[in-house]
């Protein structure tokens, strides 16, 4: 029953999306309100329909309907509720359905909220969003159907959508015993929320993309499409950032190498849209303020969306490990085809408008030292980072495979050499651009504006040196990143002080008013601060990580960076609620004779997982602002656990990466918080109605 309901509503959503595409185009051509409205209703309808099918799948997962192939392959009887729910995005078929659900939710919101204010764009927004949605629903229906069921036909096992003739369902015990469950490495809180965050980020960028395409198609090339989608871009960007940070956190907690970013192609595939999207968020401000970069913004929004689709394609098709793998997943070719089509159509639309002279800028760049030039430089750096990372992860392997008949991959060395100068250039611009003015800035003015941040930076560097950093390069890197952070702080401080002095507000009032009055600018500074904090954390934890490994008998200690770690004993064979067997080492971390923490690094073994990896190493960590004491249980003496081997890492400043992430969330919320919940025209109308009502009563 669940499978039928789920499948039927996916099918209906697919039909609704196709209907919306056709009718919205027809409505736009004939300027028929009726048809466009009908298309909108169909587009909005996809959301409840997909919600029904997602609920059907989740119900199947929770109630252990193992006859559903998806449930059988992603869950097992010993799994707790939270992982049953998150299994919705635990495997390919479910994650495509989930992707579609999120996308229809974003679309419905964007259509309903902007329906009156951006009427001219609407038909095309419907066409584009529904085309993307229809593609993903097509994948769900025809290639990656999560509602297929398992049947026994004679002595054969069949896996089909519809019930084959003479089929009987396998017995419950048969199914439950063989159900495999989620890969143990993914049973982590970070993995529960990391994929939805990334998907929300990916899906969110569909909205600005669809509006941009609608602007090109309709000819309304004003800043309307930017204004309508500003908040969606920010929210998408926020989720993408969170997805990346949470993914890093998961790797740090689970993968046991003491790091959080490995320049793996899959990670890079998610980072590429972030780079493009960040460039886009900055450059649209230039178009809004100065009427410049119209063409460039179109290129960036298409680039961002294209990177989203490419990333999804590249990670799902097997392209990233090896380019031989086009046949490895069924969705590889359709995804590639879709990506190429979207990119081609969008580029053609841009060229068409460009040739008609409709994307010309209203101002020219005149002065090197102006805010718009610095923004353009910032864009250039982001795009160059994009190109460098794309080349390293996909370009070089694919091209060498195609033309040299041998595959060449670029390792971590490549990224460690190419990206740091570009990131630092980005931080320099993050420091200078906010204090420069539109149009033109004098050097003297610029100098005056950065005096205080520079002094603070010098103070910070003294602190860094006091803490024992002596090499020039890391000091320079710290200085650049810190400077960007101090500029953000100082600009906010100046704004608050101006209000305190001018308007006689108290400091708290002044600060709240400042954030309320210019959300984007001051929220943006908070985001800058967050990024600077993350930057400091990344420099500290990558340049100055130290580690050691040692085998300790019970009662013995090891020393590292002023810490002592004592091995108190091993608790072997602890059985947890979900059936895992845990071997836990008990260690005490102390410093200068003072006990700081008892840590329990452990190794979990999943006896029910018979296929694939079935163990999981979980680190113990003692975190302070200065560093993380991060310990892994490597192994132990099997018989009586008299000794155990540990690997210990000291990761300086790594917590700043996570804390910077929290600051970044806060800043994005400030920037994206709705300033006006009810649009002016609605308020106007309702006031009119109220007056009429009052008149009638009188």
């Amino acid at each position: 029953m669940l499978a039928e309901v789920g499948l039927a509503s996916v099918f209906l959503a697919f039909v609704a999306a196709l209907y919306a595409i056709v009718v919205s185009i027809y409505g736009a051509q004939t300027h028929s309100n009726k048809f466009v409205t009908s298309a909108r209703n169909a587009a909005v309808l996809t959301f409840p329909l997909l919600l029904i099918s997602a609920v059907a799948l989740v119900t199947g997962l929770i109630t252990e309907q193992y006859q559903m192939q998806y449930v059988w392959s992603t869950t097992s009887p010993d799994m707790p509720l939270i992982f049953r729910i998150s299994a919705l995005w635990g495997s390919q078929a479910g994650s495509i359905l989930f992707w579609s659900l999120l996308m229809s939710a974003f679309t419905a919101a964007a259509l309903l909220i902007n329906w009156h204010s951006h009427r001219r764009l609407m038909p095309y927004v419907i066409t584009y969003t529904m085309a993307v949605l229809a593609f993903f629903l097509g994948l769900t229906l025809f290639l990656e159907n999560p509602f297929q069921r398992i049947w026994l036909v004679g002595s054969e096992v069949a896996q089909t959508t519809f019930i084959p003739a003479g089929a009987v369902p396998p017995s419950a015990a048969q199914l439950a015993d063989t159900a495999n469950g989620l890969n143990p490495l993914l049973r982590h809180f970070g993995m529960v929320i990391h994929p939805p965050m990334l998907y929300l980020g990916f899906v969110g960028f569909v909205i600005p993309f669809a509006f941009a395409m609608a602007a090109l198609a309709s000819g309304d090339l004003s800043t309307n499409w930017i204004k309508a989608t500003r908040r969606y871009s920010l929210i998408a960007w926020l989720f993408l950032s969170l997805g990346l940070i949470l993914g890093g956190r998961w790797a740090y907690d689970v993968l046991g190498w003491g790091g959080y970013w490995g320049w793996d192609p899959v990670e890079n595939a998610a980072f590429l849209p972030w780079l493009m999207g960040t460039a886009f968020l900055h450059s649209v401000m230039i178009q809004e303020k100065r009427g410049m970069l119209k063409l460039w913004n179109m290129i960036l929004v298409i680039g961002t969306f294209s990177a989203v689709i490419f990333g999804t394609f590249a990670t799902r098709s097997g392209l990233v490990d090896s380019v031989h793998a086009f046949a490895r997943s069924q969705i590889g070719f359709p995804m590639f085809f879709f990506w190429a089509t979207v990119t081609l159509i969008s580029s053609a639309l841009i060229l068409w408008r460009w040739n008609r002279g409709e994307l010309r800028d209203e101002h020219a760049f005149t002065n090197i030292l102006s805010r718009e030039t610095l923004f353009v430089l910032n864009n250039l750096i982001f795009v160059l980072l994009f190109i460098a990372i794309f080349w390293g992860s996909f370009g070089a392997p694919v091209i060498s495979e195609l033309f040299l008949e041998t595959e060449i991959t670029l390792g971590v060395d490549y990224f460690n050499r190419v990206t740091p100068p570009l990131f630092l250039a980005m931080f320099v611009l993050m420091g200078v651009a906010p204090v420069s003015a539109w149009g033109a800035t004098s050097l003297r003015r610029l100098g005056r504006a950065v005096t205080v941040p520079l002094m603070l930076t010098v103070g910070f560097i003294v602190l860094v040196i006091v803490f024992g950093v002596t090499q020039l390069e890391p000091i320079a890197a710290y200085a650049i990143v810190a400077f960007a952070g101090f500029v953000a702080l100082h600009e906010t401080f100046r704004g608050v002080r101006a209000r305190v002095n001018g308007l006689k507000e108290n400091w708290l009032q002044a600060m709240l008013a400042l954030y309320a009055r210019n959300r984007r600018r001051y929220g943006g500074y908070v985001v800058h601060l967050g990024i600077a904090i993350i930057g400091i954390g990344i420099i500290g934890s990558t340049v100055f990580q130290t580690g050691t490994q040692q085998t300790l008998a019970v009662g013995e200690s090891l020393d590292i960076n002023g810490y002592q770690m004592r091995f108190n004993g091993l608790e072997a064979g602890q059985i947890s609620g979900d059936g895992r067997i845990m071997d836990i080492a008990n260690v005490t971390v102390s410093r200068d004779g003072r006990t700081l923490a008892n840590l329990r690094p452990r190794r979990d073994f999943f006896p029910t997982v018979t296929n694939g990896p079935n163990s999981m190493t979980i680190a113990g960590a003692y975190s302070t602002i200065e560093n993380d004491f991060y310990v892994l249980l490597v192994g132990w003496e099997e018989i009586n656990a008299n000794n155990a081997t540990f690997k210990v890492y000291i990761n300086p400043l790594v917590n700043l990466v996570w804390w910077g992430g929290i600051v970044l969330i806060l800043g994005t919320f400030i920037a994206a918080w709705p300033t006006e919940t009810v649009p002016a025209y609605v308020r106007e109308r309702s006031r009119g109605r109220r007056d009429k009502f009052a008149g009638a009563v009188a």
Partner: protein, 183 residues
């Protein structure tokens, strides 16, 4: 000098933009080209230092010219050969050749490990904790050098398990519960 115009003085800004010297354009051009050249150099030199051939076990074992050269090799892990010296952090295992083209990774790995004629290479990794993903019939991607001792000395060990996004096949239901044993 130009008045500090934040976001208030619209007329003045427009004026500046109009008055601005057209001749400044070459500055943007030269600046942009310099940046592009610098980044181009970075990418090219990075590619030169970071490039590694990505080869199969067959090519590694049949072509002696790879000895001593840093390469990436992909192979299938034979779980029975995994050994881990925890005190010195030395991982050793043997991996077998995976063909360049296949339809299903899990099948390809299984065939590779069970095929006695498939070429094999012993791998040695030092200084690393035994990864959780190192298991029977996992795909290993190792980076390092083939030693003259016939052992591949890896500095990096990546593992991929087909279970992540490739579904299991329902035939396993029958394998685990042969029909005749059912009650």
């Amino acid at each position: 000098m130009v008045q500090a115009a934040w976001e208030k003085d619209v007329d003045k800004r427009d004026e500046i933009a109009r008055v601005g010297k057209r001749g400044d354009r070459w500055k943007f051009l030269v600046g942009g080209l310099l940046i592009l050249a610098a980044v181009g150099y970075l990418i090219i030199s990075g590619t030169a230092t970071g490039a590694q051939f990505f080869i199969t076990v067959d090519s590694l074992t049949s072509d002696p010219s790879y000895v001593g050269q840093t390469v990436r090799v992909s192979g299938a892990v034979d779980g029975t050969t995994i050994s881990f010296d925890r005190e010195n952090l030395i991982i050793e295992f043997t991996m077998s050749h995976i063909p360049e083209k296949f339809d299903n990774l899990a099948d390809a790995l299984h065939v590779s490990v069970t095929d006695p004629t498939a070429s094999r290479v012993p791998v040695r990794v030092e200084g690393q904790v035994l990864p959780d993903l190192l298991s029977h019939e996992a795909q290993a991607i190792v980076t390092g050098q083939m030693g003259s001792d016939g052992v591949f000395h890896a500095t990096e060990l990546l593992l991929k398990c087909p279970s992540r996004f490739e579904e299991l096949r329902p035939e396993q239901i029958i394998q685990a519960h042969p029909p005749e044993q059912e009650s």
